[in-house]
């Protein structure tokens, strides 16, 4: 994997550039929204990628709780961080799209609000990891991750029902579904997924290295004592 990394990075960059070209140039202009709608070629694939990484975090957390395998914990934190990055992208591009199209920055729209809650939960996850010490931290973090994952369907349903009772414009809905759009969505998704995986892999390696250094430092201080 290490040797393949530079090649994969170059390929991913090429794929991202191609996807960008498709989104900006090849994609047809929407009759209703004009060119602004092209934001969804970044917004939606980022959301799909975010879900994948949060799912990885959930699975890794469960694996850790069952097996106490520290590698699983390293996977969990890496996936959480990368997930949050993509989540942030979704939360920033969403309002930037909503504003010119609907005239308002934010509506308590189901998907965007659920994404915000997801962001809050995972940031609290990272803060818990930062503020707890040593050996117990992975267990606490994994427990929180499981709670967060269990919460998400409830978050979605509660906001969905709230919306049906207090309707407002929907960000990300409507607009024509030209079959060419799906094709470009998928290309951008593939590109971002590859990019995300490379970043994830880097973060994972960094975490493994950090733990090794910590271990050695601990042994050194023991030896001195």
């Amino acid at each position: 994997m290490k040797r393949a990394f530079p090649i994969l990075a170059v390929l991913t960059a090429a794929l991202l550039s191609f996807a960008l070209y498709e989104a900006l140039v090849v994609a047809p202009t929407d009759q209703l929204q004009g060119d602004v709608y092209r934001i969804i070629y970044y917004h939606v694939p980022s959301a799909w990628t975010m879900f994948i990484f949060f799912l990885v975090n959930f699975v890794a957390s469960v694996v850790y709780l069952i097996r106490r395998n520290l590698k699983a914990d390293a996977v969990a934190v890496a996936a959480a961080e990368v997930g949050i990055v993509f989540c942030t992208v979704v939360l920033v591009t969403g309002p930037l799209w909503a504003r010119p199209v609907w005239g308002i920055w934010w509506t308590w729209d189901v998907r965007l609000t659920s994404t915000l809650v997801l962001w809050l939960i995972y940031v609290s996850y990272l803060i818990l990891r930062r503020f707890s010490s040593g050996g117990q931290m992975p267990v606490l973090a994994a427990a929180l991750a499981v709670f967060g994952a269990l919460d998400m369907p409830l978050v979605y349903f509660s906001i969905w029902f709230f919306r049906t009772q207090h309707p407002q414009p929907v960000v990300g809905g409507g607009g024509s579904t030209d079959p060419r759009m799906l094709h470009i969505w998928l290309i951008n998704w593939a590109a971002f997924l590859c990019f995300g995986l490379l970043v994830f892999w880097s973060r994972y390696r960094l975490e493994v290295l950090r733990r090794e250094v910590e271990e050695i430092q601990a042994m050194e201080s023991l030896r001195e004592a």
């Binding site: 709780l65 707890s132 427990a143 919460d151 349903f157 509660s158 709230f162």
Partner: protein, 224 residues
């Protein structure tokens, strides 16, 4: 000892200790009163508006009072190294968790019972919808806050800055429950919409997180 009898014993011990010292109870009561008064100063709505926003105001006030109560959940245990004893003993961890959760539930319910008349007075509240649903919402909502609050309090005691950590962990996860409580209360007070969906959602939330807490508490207790 069975889980039930152990839970009951721990709960009675906690209640007795609280009643004797009345420390936490008194400070929480005063805090609850302050919250109601300050909220009442901030908003001066008409009767119509009151009914629409009261749900939100009341539950946010309850939430803050609950956090004060939850933060001291494990304080006594920590001071007296009870948690270490618990870890070593063969007693099931769930009994400890349930006892703490029930104890918190009782405290927070007492707070709510005291704050509610004040809210009714300050906001001139009168429910236009089915009033019998309000206690149901109160019980379900309080348990939702308390069960996760007790669990996250157990997580927080192992962190630096533990008083801040509890609300920081609790609030995001509690969002669907809070939304349900606020909307249900609003629906019942205004009588315009049905609170049924929210009540079912709260019940589902409670089931999911009670089970999750019971399954994971043991691991958290024995962490490290």
């Amino acid at each position: 000892m069975t889980i039930a009898s152990l839970t009951r014993a721990t709960l009675i011990k906690d209640l007795r200790l609280e009643w004797r010292s009345k420390d936490a109870l008194n400070s929480m009561l005063f805090f609850a009163l302050l919250v109601v008064v300050i909220f009442s100063f901030s908003f001066d709505p008409t009767a119509e508006e009151s009914r629409q926003i009261a749900g939100g105001l009341i539950w946010v006030a309850f939430l803050f009072a609950a956090v004060v109560a939850l933060n001291q959940t494990w304080a006594r245990e920590l001071r007296n190294q009870v948690l270490d004893a618990y870890r070593v003993s063969p007693a099931p961890a769930n009994a400890l968790f349930l006892a703490k959760a029930f104890g918190n539930f009782i405290f927070v319910t007492v707070l709510e019972a005291l704050m509610t008349p004040l809210f009714i007075v300050f906001y001139n509240l009168r429910a236009l919808g089915p009033v019998y649903q309000l206690p149901i919402v109160a019980v379900l909502g309080t348990w939702a806050l308390v069960v996760n609050g007790t669990f996250f309090a157990a997580l927080s005691i192992r962190t630096r800055s533990r008083e801040t950590m509890l609300p920081l962990l609790l609030f995001p996860i509690a969002i669907p429950a809070l939304l349900a409580m606020v909307e249900a209360t609003g629906a019942i007070l205004t009588g315009e919409l049905s609170a049924k969906f929210w009540i079912v959602l709260l019940a589902a939330y409670n089931v999911v997180f009670t089970i999750a807490s019971l399954i994971l508490f043991e691991s958290v207790l024995h962490a490290e």
